[in-house]
Amino acid sequence: MTAPKARRVEPSVEVPISLTVNGEAVEAMVPARQLLADFLREELRLTGTHVGCEQGICGACTINLDGEPVRSCIMLAAQVDGSAITTVEGLSSEGLSPLQQAFKDNHGLQCGFCTPGFLMTLSTIDPEEYPGEEGIREAISGNLCRCTGYGGILQAVRTAWDRPQDG
């Protein structure tokens, strides 16, 4: 490998990071222990990323990190130096995306607290990898919703993925 040897950077309690969030460059000095979800919400004021458990289980905090859906509650802000992040606020620059519209048309949300997490998972993954009706359920199994019983959400995904039930 010919990569230049990076300068040794000692452990510190404040860490400089630079990254892209929803297409915009961001530079910040973050406390080493700050959770990525808190950085997005409290520093960047992107409060669409919700926090439901801070232990990786509920999925409300899911974001798109370099093309993968990840939990922002169990990552440190310090770890995303050099990355590109999309949050729910960055899903559509004008109006609703087809996925968002499908949620609206199919009553895919009630309280809306879980919704950004579902949207970020679904907008990041490739539907081809989740074939059939079972695939839809599997795709959203890492996001919990306590209101809808998933009926409206499943219907929204079927619509967005153009996948008729029993088809």
Binding site: L46, T47, G52, E89, Q110, R146
Partner: protein, 792 residues
């Protein structure tokens, strides 16, 4: 009833799929929940909680915590000298005297003992770890059986026992019937659940012009405001409570928790905004738990299995009971539902609600009904098996028929309408069919057994509030104002935790006034902006909130027509209001618009009919007439404005190797009277079933013998989309003659049936092993234990 509560014209939106108002904001991450608020200068709070279940506090040392950089203050109960304990309005109970922070004793692991206020939550948590509390541990009471023992350690030393509530009605009549007949006895239990909204509790307090502003996740703005005025040294007029977007409530957010009081107190003291956002670990031990009932049934049985009389004892485990409003009412609700939609004339229910060293129980969707339905519907299947009759025929022989209505149940519930038998037959037809198919499919699989189970039920909705104490009973309010440009502002005391209340209010207002829904602006959940109302509980908002809207709208509509009649010089009775215009029926021109009418009413009052008062606004309150708020001398009470009904069928497959229950088909026939927004109703049903299934198969809050909670969030198994079956919903509409538009409530119906339906399906699937199915959860381990290892 029909004359007072009407829509005024042909409904445009009512009964149609009106998309929800908040969706655009919520879908793009713009919905503002309490935790999203961050006013300048905000400080954050962390709570020091008791690690032990029962003990006396002997010392609290806060100096080390207070010395942490960034800590503003550390407080304990001793600092709250100007705070009063929460009141208790139910004269028939013993009073826990709940205080926001533990005073001398802790009564559950998780009990708030001290509070750290710091520049942010990270620092507050650092400091909270440094608060040292010395306890003298006391023996813990960790089960309702233990709490019932006469010599069990008492949680509240000034009580005579651990029974917060102990109602033992005269049972001599029933006893006489039991004495002369064959008697069957069973004990049923339902585990401890919690609502587990995806948003935890949160509160943010600020002082504005000398007034306290509290943004919180509570389900009722006005009750919260009044309660704060009871507890804090503040006049009620100096408090404003606002509830922004809320991430699900399901009853859990009905309580005004200690943290709501503490952020307020700290904000007043430090004159800076104070925020508390509960974390999920705290939520597991400090937000309301629910269910945890034991029900003993003794019934006199006829030869054909019919129940001649029942004596029932309901016991609810309240945990420490340190919660406001107090949470014994589910037990009373259980009692009120013990006969189900069956003709059982003699039924007497005694009710005890006991304190244990566990997290306080509180409200959760279903509110005592799942417990009653599970016990009764299992019991009926067990009678059928014992007597040797068909379980469906046995139900048929007791179910209320249309000719029986109106019917007053043994507990006093007035069933004025319903489709009990009809909905039951529908799910039986579909359930038997699905069961046959499942049987054929799994016939050759030695590791599978299939079964179908049914539950048929009624559920009281729109209940009296606050523990049948005749305090905050059942009314709701609404103000409708037509503004000079013809737009409408409607403000109501109801609240929205995601059920779609806002859309409902807009729908009904638009139809009742005859205006386009886009011109209606809804204001809810701000105690400064809305008339006093009771908010969300017990699926009441459509019925009672709807009643208030219709009354206010009728007032405004009357005036609109009077003004229009004057302007058009046409007889008032000939006029119709459509799409925001008033004209003579059958001839769209000439017409006057709402804007013209409102301008006349408010600005050019010179054009009003002579003698008419200016303004185009009305406030109305609705309190259902037939709903009762205190029991009669026999303990009977018609505690609800309406009764919805449902029938459930579950077809399951049991894996004999793992004990896992797979739901193959779930069918629900539902009747909530008149439907306002069909997708919202379906959404409520799906969500309710998911919670009902969760409690039946997955969710369980366990404690060990020391009262230590054993269920972390990762073990509290909220079902995901993979665990959730497809649901087939069949709709019935039996409008109530006694409610506005014939509406009933829809919020609970899905939640209350699954335990019974699945329990009965399991009994059928495993019939060869004679399983004892008397408790939930029916976890795989529990089910596996019903299956012998050696099978032939």
């Amino acid at each position: 009833m029909a004359d007072t509560f009407e829509l005024g014209g042909r409904p445009v939106y009512t009964g149609a799929h009106v998309t929800r108002r908040q969706d655009d904001a919520l879908l793009s991450g713009q919905g503002t929940y309490v935790a999203d608020l961050r006013p300048g200068g905000m400080a954050e709070m962390a709570v020091v909680r008791s690690p032990i279940a029962h003990g006396r506090i002997t010392a609290i040392r806060t100096a080390a915590a207070a010395a942490v950089d960034g800590v503003i203050e550390v407080i304990t109960a001793a600092d709250l000298t100007d705070v009063a304990p929460y009141p208790n309005f139910a004269a028939y109970t013993q009073t826990p005297g709940t205080f926001p922070l533990a005073q001398d004793k802790v009564r559950y692991a998780g009990s708030p003992v001290a509070v750290v206020l710091a520049e942010n939550r990270y620092i507050a948590e650092d400091a909270a770890e440094l608060v040292e509390v010395d306890y003298t541990e006391l023996p813990a009471v960790t089960s309702l059986e233990a709490a019932l023992e006469p010599d069990s350690p008492r949680l509240f030393e000034d009580w005579t026992n651990n029974r917060l509530l102990d109602l033992q009605p005269d049972d001599s009549e029933v006893a006489a019937i039991l004495a002369g007949n064959r008697v069957l006895r069973r004990r049923y239990k339902m585990g401890r659940h919690t609502a587990m909204p995806m948003e935890t509790r949160a509160a943010l307090a600020e002082v504005h012009n000398g007034r306290l502003h509290l943004w919180c996740t509570n389900q009722h703005a006005h009750i919260a405001r009044t309660t704060l005025s009871y507890v804090l040294p503040l006049a009620e007029r100096d408090i404003r409570v606002v509830i922004p977007y809320v991430g699900g409530g399901f009853g859990l957010k009905q309580h005004l928790y200690p943290e709501d009081v503490l952020v307020s107190w700290l904000a007043l003291r430090h004159r800076r905004p104070v925020r508390f956002v509960e974390d999920r670990a705290e939520h597991m031990i400090a937000a309301a738990h629910a269910r945890d009932h034991m029900i003993d049934i003794e019934a006199a049985i006829a030869d054909d299995g019919r129940i001649l009389a029942m004596r029932v004892q309901v016991v609810q485990d309240l945990g420490s009971a340190e919660i406001f409003p107090g949470a014994w009412c589910p037990a009373l609700t259980t009692a009120a539902h013990m006969t189900g939609p069956y003709d059982i004339r003699d039924c007497v229910v005694s009710v005890a609600a006991v304190t244990t060293n566990k997290t306080p129980g509180g409200s959760y969707r279903g509110f005592g009904v799942p417990e009653a339905v599970f016990a009764l519907e299992r019991f009926i299947d067990e009678i059928a098996a014992e007597v040797g009759v068909d379980r469906l025929d046995l139900r048929r022989s007791m179910l209320l028929q249309p000719a029986d209505l109106p019917y007053t149940t043994a507990s006093g519930a007035l069933l004025d309408s319903g489709s009990f038998a009809e909905s039951f037959e529908r799910v039986v037809e579909m359930g038997e069919d699905a069961y046959r198919q499942a049987g054929a499919h799994y016939r050759s699989d030695p590791d599978s057994r299939v079964g179908v189970g049914y539950a048929v039920l009624f559920e009281g909705v729109s209940p009296t509030h606050h523990g049948a104490s005749a305090h905050w009973m059942g009314h709701e309010s609404c103000t409708i104002e037509v503004q000079p440009d013809g737009g409408v502002r409607v403000a109501s005391g109801v609240t929205d935790q995601g059920q779609g209340t806002t859309t409902f209010v807009a729908t009904l207002t638009a139809d009742a006034l005859g205006v386009p829904i886009e011109t209606v602006r809804v204001e809810l959940a701000d105690s400064d902006a809305t008339p006093y109302g009771l908010g969300a509980f017990g699926s009441r908002q459509a019925v009672i909130g709807g009643g208030a809207i219709l009354l206010a709208a009728a007032d405004v509509r009357g005036k609109v027509k009077k003004i229009a009649a004057h302007m058009l010089e046409a007889p008032e009775d000939d006029l119709v209001i459509e799409a925001g215009r008033v004209h003579v029926a059958g001839s769209p021109v000439p017409a006057v618009t709402m804007a013209e009418i409102a301008t006349t009413a408010v600005i050019r009052t010179i054009d009003l009919p002579p003698g008419m008062e200016p303004g185009l606004e009305a406030t109305a309150r609705y309190e259902p007439e037939l709903m009762e708020h205190t029991p009669d001398e026999k303990g009977r009470i018609n505690a609800n404005a309406a009764y919805a009904n449902a029938a459930h069928a579950a077809v399951i497959r049991v894996d004999l190797g793992t004990g896992e229950i797979e739901i193959l088909d779930y069918i629900l026939a539902h009747d909530c009277g008149r439907v306002i927004n069909p997708p919202i109703v379906d959404g409520q049903i799906w969500g309710g079933i998911a919670q009902g299934l969760g409690g039946t198969l997955y969710e369980d809050l366990c404690f060990n013998d020391l009262g230590q909670p054993q269920t972390a969030f990762m073990d509290y198994l909220v079902p995901s989309a993979v665990e959730m079956p497809d649901v087939v919903i069949e709709h019935f509409e039996s409008p109530s003659p006694n409610t506005p538009l014939g509406m009933k409530g829809v919020g609970e119906g899905g939640t209350v049936g699954p335990a019974a339906a699945i329990g009965n399906a399991l009994a059928q699937a495993l019939a060869e092993f004679s399983p004892q199915i008397h408790e939930t959860p029916l976890s795989p381990a529990v089910v596996r234990a019903m299956i012998p290892d050696q099978r032939t």
